[in-house]
């Protein structure tokens, strides 16, 4: 069991590395059953079933995107109508100023554009990205998490968090290695 370099004195949580996605999934189940809420698993790819294991609420991305799309749709159409029929109407091929069929393509494109913006930036906001400094990066166990290692972190903010209890409990889950982020003696 190795100690990491202490950058922040604040205790963040306990890190446990596991061999495989399966082990991590099992571990996450157990941790949740034990009653811990604010814990997080880290993996190089999304693991199926992990959301249930961690009992997470379903993502609200869909609604955000829908909102963006609606703005694009309504905004786009009404903007065109205003620009062509009110702001500066001009006679084009003897057509009416408000020729709505002609506005369909642009309206559609704007709808897609705005939903895409919503989908992407919504996701960034929900995930709190970009975030260039995060305590978990301090643990060397995290080094390969985006490549091939599977990590579980029980955070100190959890109501039930007791450093030693957590350690021993995680040991029970047969991890590859265990580490503490932050100053253990405060």
């Amino acid at each position: 069991m190795s100690k990491t370099r202490h950058l922040s004195s604040k205790l963040y949580g306990v890190v446990a590395e596991f061999d495989t996605a399966t082990d991590l999934l099992q571990a996450a189940k157990k941790v949740r059953e034990e009653g811990y809420v604010s814990f997080e698993t880290y993996s190089p790819f999304p693991i199926h079933g992990m959301d249930d294991a961690m009992k997470l609420k379903p993502s609200i991305m869909g609604w955000i995107t829908f909102l963006g799309g609606s703005i694009g749709l309504i905004g786009g159409f009404s903007f065109q109508s205003w620009a062509q029929a009110i702001a500066y109407p001009y006679i084009i091929s003897g057509k009416p100023f408000f020729s709505y069929p002609a506005f369909v393509p642009v309206t559609f494109e704007l709808m897609v554009l705005f939903s895409a913006f919503a989908a992407v930036f919504g996701m960034f906001i929900l995930n709190g990205l970009p975030k260039y400094h995060h305590p978990v990066f301090e643990s060397k166990l995290m080094e390969h998490v985006n490549s091939h290692s599977f990590v579980l972190v029980v955070e100190a903010v959890d109501a039930k968090f007791q450093l030693d209890e957590v350690k021993t409990f995680l040991q029970g889950l047969d991890p590859k290695e265990i580490d503490v982020i932050g100053d253990a003696n405060d």
């Binding site: 190089p44 500066y88 554009l113 996701m123």
Partner: protein, 464 residues
């Protein structure tokens, strides 16, 4: 670990052959990014940059002298520029389709090529976007085309297909770019963690946005990615439909056809897949990624090329039928003139490349032969360029009034600009190959057995 490969075969061809472990996959894919660039890369980047310089000087000359340096004339107001524009946009579409539609259909084999294809999309759209920009007579007021009011609150004309095009293409570019970038974030994070030098850490770090692979992130991420895919699919269809409106909404014989939108979309997929095959065949050789971009993948794509090729052929036939069936003399003449007029050669090149050459893919042997498919994919690209040439130029050069019939001959500027656009494309592509993972690492891992948490009967596990 040869034994592992047998245990879990997803009742199909293995998507990653040889069953390496996660670390190896990371290493293999990151390797080109981390080692010194090979000689062939240096040679080709020098080559493509010099072609890019040709493009830039041609554009400079064009802007200085005027559009007259091209071969355009009174009946033929649109020439190479528009042809190249449609050509490049068409190529772009395959990328989006591979990454979006195949994703929606849970076609897991896409994972090996989607990053690649999306990159191709973006670079192709950049090339495409260049041409409408420079083909206008007064480049310096190109911003009139964007929804910016003048001091009298005059806005662009939203009844014009060309304006629809501006919106379609710019939306398409933006969305593709976002889609690509979102896909890149976890891999950038990986590169950041692997990177040994400070500078790399910082650069990749910036674009990785501090991704940590946390499950809560994955949750939103996957949903967002799915939504983007769901959005990109209708988008890609709409974009080429709108590109086809540039022609279909006018009333020129040979342009004014309702079949254009589906016909153009099919053509786009056709040419795009051909281009992907061309590039993949080269890339998998050069990077030794044969076990990830498998022959199976290529075969799948050849099947699609065959199918879309047939659709395009159907469209050609249907155009002729309609021209005859409509009983409209101008329409009829336009199509007879295509096949037997002064530009007959362009038409027959188009037909033989697009309709005949893909027919060989009926044979499994040819479908799976690397050199053969390479040749065919080149043919298809040539043919599709000529399709756009035939549609644009032959329709224009002889329309209603015989008194103003003419003939369009491209100048050296036309040709060099087109060649130069490849310089732009390949320069961007080579930079991509060098500095970004050309395969979506996390998606690959996602389709590997280790990713399947429910196959936990022990043997499935691979000890790291």
């Amino acid at each position: 670990m040869g034994d592992t490969s047998v245990n879990y075969d997803l009742q199909r061809h293995p998507l990653v052959e040889g069953g390496p472990d996660l670390k190896t996959v990371s290493d293999v894919i990151s390797q080109p990014v981390e080692v010194k660039p090979p000689t062939w890369w240096l040679i080709s980047i020098v080559g493509s940059i010099s072609i890019l310089t040709l493009l830039l000087s041609m554009v400079g000359y064009l802007v200085w002298e005027g559009v007259g340096v091209w071969g355009l004339n009174n009946p033929v107001g649109w020439g190479f520029a528009i042809v190249n524009f449609v050509f490049w946009v068409g190529i772009g579409h395959a990328g989006t389709l591979i990454s979006a539609i195949l994703f929606l259909f849970r076609q897991k084999w896409r994972t090996s090529i989607n990053r690649f294809a999306e990159a191709m999309t973006i670079f192709a759209v950049i090339c495409a976007g260049l041409f409408p920009g420079i083909h206008i007579g007064r480049v310096w007021v190109a911003y009139y085309l964007f929804p910016i009011p003048n001091s009298m609150w005059l806005w662009p004309n939203f009844k014009s297909p060309l304006l629809w095009d501006v919106f379609a293409v710019s939306t398409y570019f933006t969305v593709s770019l976002l889609f690509w970038f979102v896909g890149l974030v976890p891999d950038l994070a990986m590169l950041r963690d692997r990177s040994t030098t400070k500078i790399r850490k910082v650069l990749y770090g910036i674009f990785a946005l501090g991704w940590r692979g946390a499950n809560r992130h994955w949750q939103h991420y996957e949903r967002s990615y799915l939504l983007l895919a769901a959005l990109a699919t209708p988008l890609v269809l709409s974009v080429h439909s709108i590109v086809s409106f540039d022609f279909a909404v006018s009333q020129l014989p040979g342009w004014h056809t309702t079949i254009f939108p589906p016909y153009f979309v099919a053509g786009a997929i056709f040419s795009g897949f051909a281009m992907v095959v061309t590039l993949m065949v080269i890339a998998r050789e050069l990077f030794g990624l044969k076990h990830i971009m498998t022959l199976h993948h290529l075969e799948c794509m050849n099947k699609i090329i065959l199918a879309t090729g047939m659709m395009v052929g159907y469209a050609y036939a249907m155009e002729f039928f309609m021209a005859w069936y409509s009983g409209n003399e101008y329409e009829a003449f336009a199509f007879v003139n295509r096949a037997f007029g002064p530009y007959y050669w362009a038409y027959w090149i188009m037909v033989s490349c697009n309709v005949l050459s893909p027919q060989f893919f009926w044979f499994k042997k040819l479908r799976r032969s690397i050199p053969f498919m390479f040749v065919i994919s080149i043919f298809v690209n040539i043919g599709m360029w000529f399709e756009r040439f035939v549609i644009t130029v032959t329709s224009l050069h002889r329309d209603f009034m015989p008194s103003s019939w003419g003939y369009y001959k491209p100048t050296f500027v036309d040709v060099c600009t087109f060649i130069g656009s490849f310089g732009l494309f390949f320069t961007l592509f080579l930079l991509f190959l060098k500095f970004l993972p050309m395969i979506a690492v996390f998606e690959i891992k996602g389709v590997m057995p280790q990713a399947n948490p429910h196959a936990h009967d022990g043997e499935g596990h691979v000890k790291n």
